[in-house]
Amino acid sequence: MKRTTLFAALAVASVAAPALFWVSAGSAADERTITRYDRESKYYRIRIVDYPDEGRRCLHFSKSRGIQSSMILAAPCQLDLQYSRTMAAALAFHPAPQDVLLVGLGGASLPKFIQKNFPDVRLDIVEIDPDVVRVCRDWFEFRGTPNTRVIVMDGRMYLKRAPKQYDIILLDAYAADRVPFHLTTLEFIQLAKSRLKAGGLVVSNLWEHAVNRFFFAELKTFQATFPQSYLCRSGDSGNIVVFGSLATEQLPKEDWAKRAAAISAGKDFGFDLANLVRKEYELLTTQKIDEKVLTDDMAPVDTLRRENPNHFEEAQPK
């Protein structure tokens, strides 16, 4: 008798609990959003949400509002998120980029921007999740061009087998709730470095909600790998984009900005790239960072991300 009651209670609870959750989630949802797609993939829960009031379509990789990518529906090839604009500064850093690799497709905003504004650049993209590739094609107007290739593979496995070398390698493979440790370590950054042509650079987006110790460990890892490194604090969201360059000579802020102005000439980026470089430029090479380099053996990424750096105050921009 007792057991029957218990089972009955469990059965009711197991049906009722998710139902209650579903109802509350439904009623709390913002009216002015339209969920276009919401499905589990091999790696993420992929959600595509339209925000008609803003004219935007966003890609989310979890239940949280953390945005992977954002597209202005009226201008699908423009860079909407601040960090993606900062990453685009790489195209001005290198004097004449011909071969570019992007690790982590996201919502394909950087690929579309490059396809439109730099059609001669040969662009390879590595993305681990085949569903992300499909979603970009179906919902984010990502199309093929003779110069675009997509490889469905783990970024590190690809770099190990890459059949060619690149002028720029863009790393955008960290999701808010998932930082694959093997894409953070000295061994990995050195592998990327070995796939660069002379004068090439590796650029990584350290996307986070707040500054934490992982940022600094990763900056240190770049610093240790490249003769020159730079960083851009992208907006005030805590995004940091780090640039590691094989060019041994420092690129002064004004030179970078001038090149940015030059490549923007006659194009409609939708933002001022030269201004962005002037505002965000910081030399990393000579900064003192009180954090250990990450290695394959010792990369406690998840632990570091939970901890605030004690040198946070000094490290903040003035």
Binding site: K42, Y43, R137, P146, T148, R156, M157, R161, T185, T303
Partner: protein
């Protein structure tokens, strides 16, 4: 005393088992990617090892159960855990065919003015992950799988209430596994890194094995209680 010793043994062996499993993820991911295929393969290798070990260990326990033999099983598992970092890279590079070979430089239907995306899918790596996992962690998993039935055999020889005591034994072993998992995930990976983690588990198992062998010889000298 014997009873507590056996409970302590299965507790530590359970902790080391899961700690090794977590270390195995960290060891394999840099080579084969952080992929569901990798996690699934490694979990299966450990479970498969446990299954084989349980059957073999149970049979062996019936022929001549002794603390010393249990100690040797544990020490062997510890020795393998200590050795894994030495050949891990070689095994991992060998397991996935074309590890060093570059990908094709041209593929797909892109181009010719079309807008079809050129997408390249690499060769299947499921078997590579299973193979590498088996070569690296199959043997320690089998050895650790032998521990529970073997300890159980020694345990019930002493105790008449078999069900109660087997339950205790499996319970304590599982609690050890939980603490091994949490300890590794919460602290050890951040504290010591993957290779030291493997070594720590190896040393714990070696030490445990030695302790059992010593306990065995001490018991043989003193008359049974």
């Amino acid at each position: 005393m014997m009873r507590l010793g056996l409970l302590g043994t299965v507790f530590l062996a359970g902790a080391a088992l899961m700690s090794l499993e977590m270390a195995s993820f960290r060891l394999v991911e840099p080579e084969l990617g952080s992929d569901l295929v990798v996690w699934g393969s490694l979990i299966s290798v450990f479970l498969g090892g446990l299954a084989i070990g349980a059957v073999g260990g149970g049979r062996w326990a019936d022929t001549r159960p002794s603390l010393a033999r249990l100690g040797l099983i544990l020490a062997a598992a510890g020795g393998v855990a200590l050795a894994v970092p030495l050949y891990a890279d070689a095994v991992l590079t060998w397991a996935y065919p074309g590890a060093g070979a570059p990908l094709p430089s041209e593929w797909g239907t892109g181009g010719a003015g079309g807008t079809e995306l050129a997408v390249y899918h690499p060769p299947d790596m499921r078997w590579a992950a299973l193979l590498a996992g088996t070569l690296l962690f199959g043997l320690p998993a089998v050895l650790l799988g032998m521990v529970s039935p073997y300890a159980a055999r020694l345990f019930v020889r002493e105790m008449p209430q078999m069900g109660t005591h087997l339950g205790q034994l499996y319970g304590v072993s599982t609690v050890g596994s939980i603490l091994g998992t949490l300890g590794t995930a919460f602290y050890l990976i951040a504290l010591m890194g993957t290779r030291w983690l493997l070594s720590l588990n190896g040393l714990v198992l070696l030490g445990l094995g030695a302790a059992l062998v010593i306990a065995h010889s001490l018991r043989r000298r003193s008359p049974p209680a």
